[in-house]
C-alpha cells in the first residue's frame, strides 16, 4: 500500500519578475519516504523548492502540506508548520557560533539534549566546533551545520537543495551516511540533487524536471535500472556516475 502524500503540488506556476519559470509543476511527496528531484541546470528544481517555502510566490496552482493549503502562506508560517528548508547556499549565519545557529532553529529556544546527541553522533565535528563562529567552518562542515539545523527538532518534512554541491568526495560519503541514518527514522525528505550516485543511494522515489515541469515520476529503483530512460530524461546514464 503506497504511503499517503504529505506534500502535493498541483499545476504550480511561478514567475520571477517577467520570467515564467515553473509551467505547471505536479509533484507528490509521500510521507516517510525520500523523494529526489532530478533535472538539468535551469529545469526549475530550486524554484520549486522556493515556491514550496513561499520564498517565491506561486502565481497559479495549489500547494498542500498535511492536507492544508499553504500556497498563499507567508514563509515563517510555512516553516512553523514543520517544514525545514536547507537552501543550496546553506544559509549559515556566519557571524554567529555553531551553537547559536542551531539554537535559532529550535522553536522553544532550548535544545532537546537527546536529539542533540543524535545530531552529534551524525556529525561529530559540530560538537568540536560548538562555540566557534560558523563563518570559519569548511564547506562540508557548513553543509553539516545546515542539515543539523534542519533536524535539531522533529520536522514533518525536510526540503534540501543540492547538499553535495562543491563538496569533496569523502565529505559526500559522510553526508550520504547521514541521510541514510535520517531515513531510518522515517523522516520525509524532498531532496534536489545533481550527484546521481547520492540520488541513487538514497532515493525511494524520483521526479525528473525539465523546462519548468515534472516530466517523469516513479521509483528510483526503476529509473536506476532503465538506462534508456535515464538517457532520455537526463541525457546521461546513472551508471556512468557511480
Amino acid at each position: 500500500m503506497p504511503e499517503p502524500a504529505l506534500l502535493t503540488l498541483e499545476g504550480v506556476h511561478t514567475h520571477i519578475g517577467r520570467y515564467h519559470i515553473l509551467h505547471g509543476v505536479d509533484l507528490v511527496v509521500p510521507k516517510g519516504r525520500l523523494t529526489v528531484l532530478l533535472g538539468r541546470n535551469g529545469a526549475g528544481k530550486t524554484t520549486t523548492l522556493r515556491s514550496i517555502m513561499g520564498l517565491w510566490r506561486a502565481s497559479a496552482g495549489r500547494i498542500t502540506f498535511g492536507g492544508a493549503d499553504i500556497t498563499a502562506m507567508a514563509t515563517p508560517d510555512i516553516a512553523r508548520r514543520g517544514i525545514a528548508y536547507v537552501p543550496e547556499t546553506m544559509g549559515i549565519f556566519t557571524q554567529l557560533t555553531v551553537r547559536e545557529n542551531m539554537l535559532l532553529a529550535t522553536t522553544s529556544g532550548r535544545f532537546d539534549e537527546a536529539r542533540l546527541d543524535g545530531v552529534f553522533a551524525l556529525f561529530p565535528v559540530l560538537k568540536q566546533k560548538w562555540h566557534d563562529a560558523a563563518g570559519g567552518l569548511s564547506g562540508g562542515q557548513k553543509q553539516m551545520l545546515a542539515i543539523s539545523r534542519a533536524i535539531v527538532e522533529e520536522r514533518r518534512l525536510l526540503v534540501v537543495d543540492e547538499p553535495t554541491k562543491g563538496l569533496a568526495p569523502a565529505v559526500i560519503e559522510h553526508l550520504i551516511e547521514g541521510f541514510r541514518q535520517l531515513k531510518q527514522t522515517r523522516t520525509t525528505i524532498l531532496l534536489v540533487e545533481q550527484n546521481f550516485h547520492m540520488a541513487r543511494s538514497l532515493g525511494d522515489n524520483v521526479a525528473v524536471m525539465d523546462d519548468g515541469r515534472v516530466v517523469h515520476t516513479g521509483t528510483m529503483a526503476a529509473l536506476a535500472a532503465d538506462e534508456a530512460l535515464q538517457s532520455r530524461l537526463l541525457g546521461l546514464s546513472l551508471a556512468s556516475h557511480q
Binding site: M53, L55, A74, T75, P76, A79, R80, Y85, P87, G91, F93, T94, Q95, L96, E100, L103, L104, A105, T107, G109, A133, G136, R149
Partner: protein, 354 residues
C-alpha cells in the same frame, strides 16, 4: 560566571577590554578625577551619547536598518521632560512621567513607522525616516506654544538636582556634593543601567534573531521568524532607549530646543560614533561616543596649545590654529576608518580571532 552577569558577551580583545575599563572608571569617578564644570559636562555627555549610540547600534549594527530619525526620538524624550518642567510642573513625578511618556511615545512612533515602511526596500525605509525626521523638526520649530519654537524651553529641575542644592556642607575629596554632582551621577547610573540592559538584549535569543535577520533575512524567515515583527520591535526598543537618553540630556542642559537634541549634526555624530567604535558590537559605540565627545570638547584647546608651542616655526602655528579643529577631526576619522575599517572594537575582535 563573571561575564554571565554582565551579558555573556566580551569585548573580544584585551586592548578593547582595557579601553572600556578605563572609560568606565573615568566616568564613575569623573567629578573627582577631573573636577570642573566643563569636564563633568563632557563626562555626562559621554554617558548620554553612549546610550544614544548604543541604541542606534541595535538598529544599524545588529539589525541592519539605516534610520535617520534617531535624533527625533532623542528629542521626543528631551521634550517629554522639558515640557512639563517648563510649564511649572517641577518634581520627580514630572521627570519620570515626561521621560517614560517620551520613551513610550517614541517607541510607538517607531513601531508605527516600522510596520508601515519596513517592508519596503532598505533605501526607501531610510528615505522615509529622513522625511519623518524633517517633519518632526518642522513641528518642533513651528509649534511654539508647546515646544518654545527655535528658542526652545528653559526650565528648573527638582530641588535636589539644582546647582544651588548642597547635600553635604563640606566638600568630599575637594569636590562639592551639590545638585550638579547628583545630576551627573543620576545620568551615569541610568546610562550604565541602560547600556547593561542593551547588552543583555543583544545577547538574548531576541538579539540572536536580529543578527540572523541582518545577515540573511530570507533564511531567518525560512526558519520561522516573522522578520517584520522583529525589525519593528528592534526599532521601537531603540527609539525608547534614545528617548530616555534625550530625557537625560534635558536634565543635563536644563534646556531643550531643536538644535540641542534634534539637529542633523547630532545624527551625523551618532553615525560616526557607531562606525568608529565598531558596528554590531555595542561596546564599540561606547568607545566611539567617548572619542567624538572628547574631540568636540578638547581638540580645540589642544590645538591651541600645539599652535602656541610651535609659535616660532613657519606654517605649523597656522596648521594647528584652533579654528581648524574640524579639519583635524576629519583627519582623525579618516585615519580610524582607514586603519580600523571595522571600527575600534570590530577591528580588534577580528585581530583576536585571526
Amino acid at each position: 560566571m563573571r561575564w554571565r552577569i554582565v551579558s555573556g558577551d566580551r569585548p573580544g580583545h584585551p586592548v578593547a577590554t582595557a579601553l572600556l575599563l578605563v572609560l568606565l572608571v573615568a566616568l564613575a569617578f569623573a567629578p573627582f578625577l577631573f573636577p570642573g564644570t566643563r569636564s563633568v559636562a563632557a563626562a555626562a555627555r559621554i554617558c548620554i551619547f553612549i546610550v544614544l549610540a548604543a541604541s542606534y547600534d541595535i538598529l544599524l549594527g545588529y539589525t541592519g536598518i539605516v534610520s535617520f530619525a534617531h535624533t527625533m526620538f532623542f528629542a521626543i524624550g528631551a521634550y517629554g521632560v522639558a515640557i512639563p518642567l517648563a510649564n511649572g510642573w517641577i518634581g520627580w513625578d514630572a521627570v519620570l512621567a515626561g521621560g517614560l511618556g517620551g520613551a513610550a511615545l517614541a517607541a510607538g512612533i517607531a513601531a508605527a513607522i516600522g510596520l508601515l515602511s519596513l517592508r519596503v526596500r532598505k533605501i526607501f525605509f531610510s528615505m522615509i525616516t529622513l522625511a519623518v525626521a524633517s517633519l518632526a523638526q518642522l513641528l518642533a520649530t513651528q509649534w511654539r506654544d508647546i515646544t518654545g519654537g527655535e528658542d526652545g524651553l528653559t526650565f528648573s529641575l527638582p530641588r535636589i538636582l539644582s546647582p544651588a542644592f548642597r547635600l553635604l556642607s563640606d566638600p568630599v575629596l575637594g569636590v562639592r556634593i551639590d545638585g550638579r554632582l547628583i545630576t551627573y551621577y543620576l545620568i551615569f547610573a541610568v546610562s550604565l543601567a541602560l547600556f547593561w540592559l542593551m547588552l543583555r538584549i543583544v545577547n538574548s535569543p531576541f538579539g540572536r534573531v536580529l543578527q540572523a535577520i541582518r545577515e540573511n533575512e530570507f533564511r531567518a524567515e525560512a526558519l520561522g521568524y516573522r522578520t517584520i515583527v522583529y525589525r519593528t520591535l528592534a526599532s521601537a526598543l531603540s527609539a525608547g532607549m534614545a528617548a530616555i537618553a534625550g530625557a537625560l540630556m534635558a536634565l543635563l542642559l536644563r534646556y531643550n530646543g531643536p538644535e540641542a537634541t534634534m539637529s542633523f549634526a547630532i545624527m551625523v555624530d551618532v553615525l560616526l560614533m557607531v562606525v568608529i567604535g565598531g558596528m554590531g558590537t555595542l561596546y564599540g559605540p561606547a568607545l566611539g561616543a567617548a572619542v567624538i565627545v572628547l574631540a568636540q570638547y578638547y581638540l580645540q584647546p589642544g590645538l591651541q596649545a600645539l599652535s602656541d608651542a610651535a609659535g616660532a616655526l613657519p606654517l605649523l602655528p597656522a596648521l594647528f590654529h584652533p579654528d581648524r579643529w574640524l579639519l583635524w577631526l576629519g583627519v582623525l576619522f579618516i585615519l580610524i576608518v582607514y586603519f580600523l575599517p571595522a571600527g575600534i572594537v570590530g577591528s580588534l575582535r577580528r585581530r583576536s580571532r585571526a
